[in-house]
Subunit: 123 residues, 2 copies
Amino acid sequence: MTSSPEAAPFAFEGLDRLFHERARLGIVTSLAGNPDGLAFSELKRMCGLTDGNLSRHLAALEEAEYVAIAKDMAARRPVTTCRLTALGLDRFVSYLAVLETALKEGTRATSGKGRSPAVALKA
Amino acid sequence: MTSSPEAAPFAFEGLDRLFHERARLGIVTSLAGNPDGLAFSELKRMCGLTDGNLSRHLAALEEAEYVAIAKDMAARRPVTTCRLTALGLDRFVSYLAVLETALKEGTRATSGKGRSPAVALKA
């Protein structure tokens, strides 16, 4: 359902579900801080995920072309390296801007200082 | 999989999935800003949701006792009023604190100023 911010101020439509899922938020944050990429095993440790979970989330991010995955050999052992693409970084920055708005709205609402537009209209 | 923040700094375990889901984040933010509650129809408008979607998310929040739902009559018409419980508000404030941390980590990582703990250890 598409709606304008005026009509539905709390729809938070810019919260791209690909980034908003908790595990993927951790994965993308880890990769954003490591522009040269991270080994699968290191990423797994940083995000506290199992092999299966990390693989599944990486596949979703790779399909959207937000993440690139390369398989190489290092010291005769196969190493899978994951990195954020330029597109992924760009979209993640946009996502974070919407997340910041959502956080501000939540903080304002819970602090009791802000009243929602609905109440303001009724007042 | 449970892990300490030191072992898995980007696991973001405090991001309660009940609040983190995009539609529910909008619902709870709307209710937090209206302590006296909101009519189902008003909440639906503010969050840009369909009847079915809003009902489904409210049921999940009610089951966790984060939201209370009351059915009354107003001007001879049935009105469903939803409000955040004290427990819901308390947990939502905790969720927002973790969300703030996640946002800061994301902003730091994408700004290129912060390096992740993994890289810091290798340097």
